[in-house]
C-alpha cells in the first residue's frame, strides 16, 4: 500500500525542468493533504474525536467500520510508509531482536517492532480499540494480529475467507456471510450502538463508486502515451485502501480522473519517450520506487499496469449495489490473492492484452509468499499463451537487506535488451 511518505526520496529541484513540470501529476498535492489529515485525525486523542480506532488488514471489509464511525487504520499502509521512508531495516532488526524470524513478512516485522518503540515516519500508529483481521490476503495476518491483540489487550475479530482455487460456491458464501453477521454483532458490542443498515447502503454505494473510479483511473493507461505509470498508481492507491466507502475518496478520484483525461487530451505521457509497455506483478519495492521508476523511464519502458493496485477493484464485479452487505462476502473472498495460480495467471494475461504490454516484470517478494508462490508457473503460462518476455526481480517490499542493486540492474538491462 501507499502513503503520503512514498515520495520522500524526491529531492526538490533546484532548477525546474519545464518538461518534467509538465509531466507531474498535480493531484499529488491534494492526495498528500488528505492522507495527512487522515493520520492527524487518527492520532488525535480519542476524547476529542469521540471515535474508536480499528486496525484492519489491507483486504479486510472496511465499510462496516465506516458505518460505525470507527477510524480504520492499516498497519500494512504504515508498513509501506516505513519502507518508503527507508526505516524498514531498523524496525525489522528490532523485531528480530524481539525473537521474530527474518523469514517473516517485513510488514508484520516492522509493525510489531514499531508498536514497541513508536517507530516509523509518524512515530507509531494510534493505539487500536479492536483488530479486524481478514485472511483473504495471506495467512501471516492471523498470527500477526494475534500478537498485536495480546500486546494491546484488545478484542480481535477474524474473518476467514476460504481460498477460491477455481470457484466460489454456495457453501463458501454461506460460511462467509455468517461471519459478516458475526462481524456486525462484534462491532455493535464494542461500539455500544446498533448497526445502521441505511447508512450501510450509503457507504456501500460510495465504496462501489470509489472502486469504479479507481478502475477508470487505472484504465487511462490504455492510452498511448500512458498519462501515468504503476509507480503513480502505487501512490494514489492509498485512498481506495484507507478511505474506501467515503465521500472523500470519491471526490478525490473524480478530480484525479479528470486530470488523467486532461493529460490524455493534451497528449501528456508520464514518460518523455514511451517505447515499451510493461505489466508489474506483486507489491512495490517501497524503498526503491524512485530508483526503479528512473531505471525503467531511462530505458523508455512504461509500467502501464500492475496486479497490485488493481487488487482493490478487480472483484468489484461481484458486488450488488442493492445488497452490499450480502454480496460483500463474495467480493472479499474472490480477490485475486485469494485465488488459484491459474486465475492469477489469467488475470495477468488479460492485463497484457488490455494494456497492450510488451513484457511482464515479476517482483519475487521474499515477504509475500502467497503473492510470489506461483510466479514461475505464471511466467511459463504467460510465455506459452502470449509469448512475451518476463523478468524476475528478487527483493522484498520493506527489508532493504534483501535487495542487490547490481543484480537487479543487470536483470532489468538484459530484459530490456530482450525486448529490442
Amino acid at each position: 500500500m501507499t502513503s503520503p511518505e512514498n515520495k520522500t526520496d524526491v529531492k526538490p529541484d533546484t532548477k525546474k525542468d519545464p518538461d518534467k513540470e509538465k509531466r507531474k501529476i498535480k493531484s499529488d498535492k491534494k492526495m498528500r493533504e488528505i492522507m495527512t489529515a487522515y493520520y492527524i485525525e487518527a492520532k488525535t486523542p480519542k476524547e476529542q474525536t469521540g471515535k474508536k480506532i480499528a486496525w484492519i488488514t489491507s483486504g479486510g471489509p472496511v465499510e462496516p467500520l465506516q458505518v460505525m464511525d470507527v477510524i480504520p487504520i492499516y498497519p500494512e499502509n504504515y508498513g509501506a510508509m516505513i519502507g518508503a521512508s527507508k526505516m524498514g531495516v531498523e524496525l525489522c532488526e528490532k523485531s528480530e531482536e524481539m525473537g521474530y524470524s527474518s523469514d517473516l513478512c517485513s510488514y508484520a516485522r516492522a509493525d510489531i517492532a514499531s508498536s514497541t518503540v513508536n517507530g516509523g515516519p509518524i512515530g507509531g500508529l494510534p493505539e487500536p480499540d479492536m483488530l479486524i483481521c481478514c485472511n483473504n490476503i495471506c495467512g501471516t495476518v492471523l498470527k500477526w494480529y494475534e500478537v498485536q491483540a495480546r500486546y494491546y489487550n484488545v478484542p480481535l475479530f477474524i474473518l476467514d475467507t476460504p481460498i477460491c482455487h477455481t470457484e466460489f460456491n454456495s457453501d463458501m458464501k454461506r460460511y462467509v456471510v455468517t461471519q459478516i453477521q458475526e462481524y456486525i454483532s462484534f462491532l455493535e458490542k464494542i461500539c455500544g450502538k446498533p448497526f445502521d443498515y441505511d447508512r450501510m447502503n450509503e457507504v456501500g454505494a460510495l465504496s462501489i463508486r470509489g472502486q469504479a473510479l479507481w478502475q477508470e483511473i487505472l484504465d487511462t493507461t490504455m492510452n498511448r502515451p500512458a498519462p501515468m505509470t504503476c509507480f503513480d498508481a502505487f501512490f494514489h492507491l492509498a485512498m481506495i485502501v484507507t478511505l474506501r466507502g467515503t465521500q472523500t475518496a470519491v471526490d478525490y478520484y473524480e478530480s484525479l480522473l479528470a486530470e488523467m483525461k486532461e493529460r490524455i487530451a493534451e497528449g501528456i505521457g508520464m514518460l518523455p519517450h514511451e517505447k515499451y509497455r510493461l505489466v508489474w506483478d506483486n507489491l512495490p519495492i517501497w524503498y526503491r520506487l524512485r530508483w526503479l521508476s528512473n531505471k525503467f523511464t531511462d530505458r523508455s519502458a512504461c509500467l502501464v499496469a500492475d496486479t497490485y493496485t488493481s487488487g482493490w477493484c478487480s472483484s468489484m464485479k461481484y458486488l450488488d449495489e442493492n445488497d452490499f452487505l450480502g454480496s460483500m462476502a463474495e467480493m472479499y473472498t474472490r480477490i485475486f490473492l485469494n485465488s488459484g495460480t491459474d486465475i492469477m495467471a489469467d488475470n495477468i494475461i488479460k492485463m497484457v492484452e488490455k494494456y497492450e504490454a510488451d513484457g511482464v516484470v515479476f517482483h519475487s517478494n521474499r515477504s509475500c509468499k502467497p503473492y510470489s508462490l506461483g510466479q514461475y508457473d505464471m511466467q511459463k503460462l504467460i510465455q506459452k499463451k502470449v509469448g512475451i518476455p518476463t523478468l524476475m526481480i528478487e527483493a522484498d517490499m520493506v527489508d532493504e537487506r534483501m535487495f542487490s542493486e547490481s543484480q537487479v540492474e543487470t536483470r532489468i538491462d538484459a530484459f530490456i535488451e530482450m525486448l529490442k
Partner: protein, 256 residues
Amino acid sequence: MITAGVDVGSISAKAAVMKDNSILKACVILTGYNAQNAGKQVFDMVLSELGMKASQIEKIVATGYGRNSITYADKAVTEITCHAAGANFLNPEVRSIIDIGGQDSKAIVIDERGKVKDFAMNDKCAAGTGRFLEVMARALEVDLDAFGELSLSADHIASISSLCTVFAESEVISLISKGEKRENIIAGIHASIGARVMAMGKRIGISAPIMMTGGVAKNIGVVKALEGKFNTSILVSENAQVNGAIGAAIIAASLN
C-alpha cells in the same frame, strides 16, 4: 571493421579485439579493488600486445558488472546479451548457455541468431559461483586450477547439501575432519554447483546444444558434473572465459 569488447566482472576483467569476424587477441587480468582501473588496464594490455592504438578501434562495448564504469566505451550491454552473441559466434548451433562467473551463475536460452529468449540468474547468493569455488579451494588448501583434475579421480561424490556458501564451507570442514578424501569433497562441491545450475536451467527450458562460458568453464569437474545433470555433452570453447568480451566486440560491430 575493428572493434573491442571489455568485460569487467567481479573477479576478472577481460578484453577482446576483433577484426570483422575474427578474434585478433583477448586478455584477462584480475579485477581487484578498482573496476574502472581494471577495465582500462586490460584494454591497454590487449592493445599493447597487438601493437595497436586506441584510435584504431572503431567501436567499443563494455559489459559485466563494471560495464557502466567504462567511460571510453560507446555503449554498455549486459553480459547476458554479450554471452549470447559470443556463444552464437563461436558455435551458431548453440541454443543454451550456462555462464558461471565470479559472483553469479546464469542459464540463457538463445535463438538461431544469438538473441536471448529467456534467462535465469542465481539469487543474491554466492553458492554455485566462482567465488564459491574460491572459498572452497581455500578451505581445502588446494590451488583452484587443480580442482577440475582432482575431482576426476574421486572414488565417490561427497554430499554437500547446503545452498549457502558459508554453511557449505562448514560442511566441507566437517567432511575434512571426518577424513573424507579431498578429491571426493571437490567432486561433491562440483555436484552441488551442478544441481543448482540444473534447477535454473530447467526452469527456463534449457535445451542442447549447450555451451558453457565464463571463467568456471575452465574447471573440467564442473563441466562433467553439469553433463551428468543435464545428461548431454556440454561444449566448452578455449575462449570460454573471454566469451562475454567477444560477444561485446561483436555487438560493437553492429553499432552505428
